[in-house]
């Protein structure tokens, strides 16, 4: 059985594998403009415009390191198979080093996770969830649009979670695409995988295992499928998500958690 295809997504997509492209360093773009003279002229007039508008050449910028970083989880969570480029995907090999960097960087004090995902690979999704849950810095998640399937553990992995009023989360059983061997063990394996998702969600949110399983195996809510689609306040009523809100509330909460975290750290030093 191919373990790479444990798809937990509300859409059904397939992909092919291809090698990782090496990244290369892009040089400074300022003087080497290939546009030649015209490009040079544009640059000059842009500079003049700035001087005329602001009386200076430097446009005010955000401070070099913002203390809150933002992780966006969009499209499909990509696992061991690379999806065709027209798919919008979140790749764990991109996210995990970023989370490590956030943990290590002294200047970063908090992390905002924004989700609008259809779900995807179980193991990749759980990997991201575990990374977020074990991050020592305050984390707040915000579900916008949709946080379906494996997006659910990612949303609840954060210290505090928000959901937009119109956002939805689909909770349904794990399914398998690709080659499946028709033996009872396959079912047991799938059941075990499902338990990993259920355990993670119940450990990191206020929903009970019974409630979550009930939502997961409910009939008649989704067309051609078992499961439930919870919208905005329903998710917070079940205790899955902490609060209904938007980016303003999420950042306010994150700043509160950062202050609390600071006080705690100072207490240890004294």
């Amino acid at each position: 059985m191919n373990m790479n295809n444990n798809n937990y997504a509300s859409g059904n997509q397939r992909g092919q594998h291809y090698g990782e492209n090496p990244s290369f360093q892009q040089g400074n773009n300022a003087p080497g403009n290939p546009g030649g003279q015209e490009g040079h002229k544009d640059e000059k007039s842009g500079l003049l415009e700035k001087i005329q508008q602001l009386g200076q050449t430097n446009v005010p910028q955000l401070s070099q390191d913002s203390k809150i970083h933002c992780l966006t989880i969009v499209g499909q969570i990509e696992g061991h198979l690379q999806l065709p480029p027209q798919n919008k995907t979140t790749k764990y090999e991109h996210l995990i080093p970023q989370i490590v960097a956030i943990e290590q960087n002294q200047n970063i004090e908090g992390l905002l996770v924004i989700l609008n995902t259809v779900g995807g690979d179980v193991e990749a999704g759980l990997a991201i969830s575990e990374m977020l849950a074990s991050l020592s810095k305050p984390t707040v998640s915000l579900v916008l649009g949709g946080g379906h399937s494996i997006g659910v553990p990612i949303a609840v992995a954060c210290d505090y979670s928000f959901i937009a009023e119109t956002a939805t989360m689909t909770i349904h059983p794990v399914r398998l695409t690709g080659l499946v061997i028709g033996v009872p063990q396959t079912f047991e394996y799938l059941d075990k995988m499902q338990d990993r998702v259920i355990n993670f969600v119940t450990r990191n949110s206020n929903i009970s295992e019974e409630d979550f399983k009930e939502l997961m195996f409910a009939k008649g809510n989704l067309t051609r499928d078992i499961g439930t689609n919870v919208v905005g306040s329903e998710a917070s009523d079940f205790g899955l998500i902490d609060e209904v809100g938007g980016v303003g509330q999420a950042l306010k909460k994150l700043n509160e958690l950062i202050e609390l975290n600071k006080d705690k750290n100072e207490g240890i030093i004294q």
């Binding site: 397939r14 990244s23 290939p34 390191d65 690379q82």
Partner: protein
């Protein structure tokens, strides 16, 4: 051509392997961006992969801008 099949569309019409090599990760002044190759052998920014919100205000690498090759 009219297809009547239970096979998913993406299995019937599989992606040309060449399409995969169109996109690659590039570092633009230290900002990780996902870029795609254009017909004139330039690179166009598809997505900024950083978590730093200030990188999204950087005019040189907003999605859609062409990255000049130096």
């Amino acid at each position: 051509m009219i297809l009547y099949t239970a096979m998913p569309q993406e299995l019937v019409y599989q992606t040309d392997p060449q399409e995969y090599s169109q996109q690659l990760m590039v570092s633009y002044n230290g900002i990780p961006v996902l870029a795609e190759r254009t017909e004139d052998h330039n690179y166009r920014v598809v997505r900024v992969m950083s978590t730093d919100p200030s990188h999204f205000l950087e005019a040189g690498c907003t999605p859609g801008t062409k990255l000049p090759l130096v």
